[in-house]
Symmetry: C2
Subunit: 413 residues, 2 copies
């Protein structure tokens, strides 16, 4: 029987310890976690094999994400070592000032406290989240997909052993070991203990958490991304970027789902763009104007414009001008990543300023929206909301600030 | 019949215009709003008189907040002029870097979009919120307390006239003119149009919004603030600070509600502290140890430790040591403002680092937690949550960031 209130209390107590640790101690814990993972590879693979056996009726795409191998466990351990090598986000002071009353006011970075994660059957998220929250001084409560329960139990046990070995509270990393809906629901309302809830997974999971939780949520990952090929675009560059953004890894949130093309170049460019995409197995769905130019596309439906395919599918629309492109994007996008291919300076500036998204690109693939690619070293998710953090979230997104105010007897007049 | 979806669409369209304005145009609008308020003082007072007449059965405290006077309207106009004089938070670029692929990545401050405000029957909030959201480039949807409806209608009409006069969309400032619970509830779920919801008012209103809203909420204002008098405290300083924090304005969230005093000085200090507070009409409620020293206190109950009085009441607890003080505060506080009075360096540092609150003070009154006192020039509220903004929120809290990324054909390997 899982008692979430008790888990929350333990997490909060652990968080108070973690918040006061120096960077060296946290790094030592991360390295111990990495060593312990490697040392228990067999035990983790055994647990994972039980999960895989129970999930044998699931599609290959699903079991591929669930499957652990010695190489993947080694990757997880290396990930923890990389996090140990990153700067400590709570070592930072954002700024400070002396106010009119002579108070010295310092704004210091501090951990959030207790982070809740709700995610799908991907055991690597368990280790990633534990490493990032620990480095930023937070305790974490993990609720992974039910199909990964045995793997997650084995992983958290190993991580807790490492924490104990370096003298830290094991409850800094806890697994909600009953992956039922009822308990997930209770977790979404654990406002007394959770400072933030980060859902990771498909649109359905994210929306369920956003609509249900009273704990503050950071919404992540929905990506209906567009590439707009302007009339001044270089065709070869456009082709390389559109193909990369669509096919390099179609299942992820920063893959492009929509191609908008200016009417002045549609007849010249679209046949080459479509052929390049189709050569990579992309199924195209065009509006009337696009199909008049490239007849071997399916007809697009209204619902397509709001759909994130996460697959080798792309919808194509011929656009009258940049204003129409920007309006279309702002109406249908998920505020993730949008790109314009252009050689016109004014067009590039309009697009950068008027498109409402976490990341707006000129002449580059949307696939770069990623903590690793941005140079953050690690990523807890990609925020598509506007509060707290926007775009790829590194360690800093797992912190907040505190004003520390030093006086010498000031009272308010 | 109020159509919130239509209002949301209009707000979003207005927000897209506001986001592209230069600072001078926004300032011109703020000055026009100030001028229009002054010019229509009579009309606003007439509307306010109708609200006051309908609220004649309400307590004086309530009608005092509802009441407008020529001086108060002039204050509101001056407030708008002050906001015009503040720096534009969206003019800032937070930073930038070139990533490994050679992309130039700039993190720019941008408006949130559409801000929703739910507040009580205080017409000044209508004008404050309109000014701050406009300056930060946001549209606002205002839902004030039903008892202020006529005042709010008159005020928003005047503000909209000013917007129209300077060529800006009137829908940048909209009032939800049906202050029913059903419509407030619908507003809390207007995720397609509202980027954030900021409740302002008593604990009941704030909690109702936090528990109901699916729109991201910034929680504000609950303040169960403590002052801990350490054994090394200067008694005269402690007396001045405790009295100031408790009595200077007891109804507000940064007033102190609890006095913790170290056992080593309780017998020496408490009689003088209690007498000073009682001389200002403060009703004291003590624990057993406190009442053994100062018998003329009522007995405290367990519920007191979690209660924000907003009144001339203060609960007193004798504390064994600083660890107990910090643990008590972290268990019962609302993460708003906490202060230690001490002359011991190590104690001050422990308190600053271990107390979990937006603002932690040494040797100063908690009453300084305020945007004006911090030098922000204006305040949209005081955040007691940890995401997005913590502590007094000035104009910057009404912005988010956007990554603008300039490339020259980069694709991801």
């Amino acid at each position: 029987m899982i008692d979430l209130t008790q888990m929350g209390q333990q997490a909060q107590a652990a968080a108070q310890v973690l918040a006061q640790l120096d960077t060296a101690t946290k790094n030592q814990a991360l390295l111990a976690m990495a060593a312990e993972l490697t040392a228990h590879t067999e035990q983790i693979l055994d647990a994972n094999a039980r999960d895989l056996a129970a999930a044998s009726d699931q599609p290959a795409k699903f079991t591929d994400r669930l499957r652990l191998t010695p190489a993947r466990i080694s990757d997880m351990a290396n990930g923890l070592k990389s996090v140990a090598a990153l700067p400590d986000p709570t070592a930072r002071i954002d700024g400070g000032f002396t106010n009119a009353a002579g108070l010295s006011i310092i704004q210091k970075r501090v951990p959030l406290g207790v982070v809740g994660m709700i995610y799908e059957a991907r055991p690597n998220v368990t280790v990633d989240a534990a490493g990032l929250t620990l480095k930023s001084g937070n305790a974490v409560m993990l609720r992974g997909g039910k199909e990964a329960l045995q793997s997650n139990l084995a992983l958290t046990q190993v991580l807790q052993t490492a924490l104990t070995k370096v003298g830290l509270p094991a409850q800094a990393v806890q697994l909600v070991a009953d992956p039922s809906r009822a308990l997930a629901n209770e977790m979404m309302h654990l406002t007394a203990y959770l400072d933030v809830l980060i859902p990771r997974g498909g649109a359905g999971l994210i929306q369920a958490v956003v609509n249900t939780a009273t704990v503050p949520v950071i919404e992540t990952g929905a990506g209906n991304c567009h590439i707009y090929v302007d009339q001044t675009a270089d065709l070869e560059m456009a082709k390389a970027i559109v193909v990369n953004a669509k096919v390099q890894r179609p299942s992820v949130c920063n893959a492009a789902e929509k191609l908008l093309i200016h009417q002045a170049v549609a007849a010249d460019y679209l046949p080459a763009l479509a052929a390049a995409l189709q050569a990579h197995g992309v199924a195209l769905r065009g509006d009337e104007a696009a199909r008049a130019i490239v007849p071997n596309m399916a007809a697009v439906t209204a619902a397509d414009w709001d759909t994130e395919y996460n697959d080798l599918i792309m919808a194509v629309k011929v656009i009258a001008d940049e204003d129409e492109a920007i309006a279309h994007i702002n109406r249908h996008n998920t505020k993730h990543s949008e790109s314009i291919i252009t050689n016109d300076y004014a067009s590039s500036e309009r697009f950068l300023n008027q498109v409402d998204a976490a990341c707006v690109y000129v002449n580059a693939s949307t696939r770069f929206t990623d903590g690793e690619q941005f140079g953050f070293g690690a990523e807890i998710g990609i925020s598509t909301q506007k509060l707290h953090a926007r775009g790829p979230m590194g360690l800093a997104a797992l912190t907040t600030t505190k004003y520390q105010i030093r006086g010498n007897g000031q009272v308010r007049e």
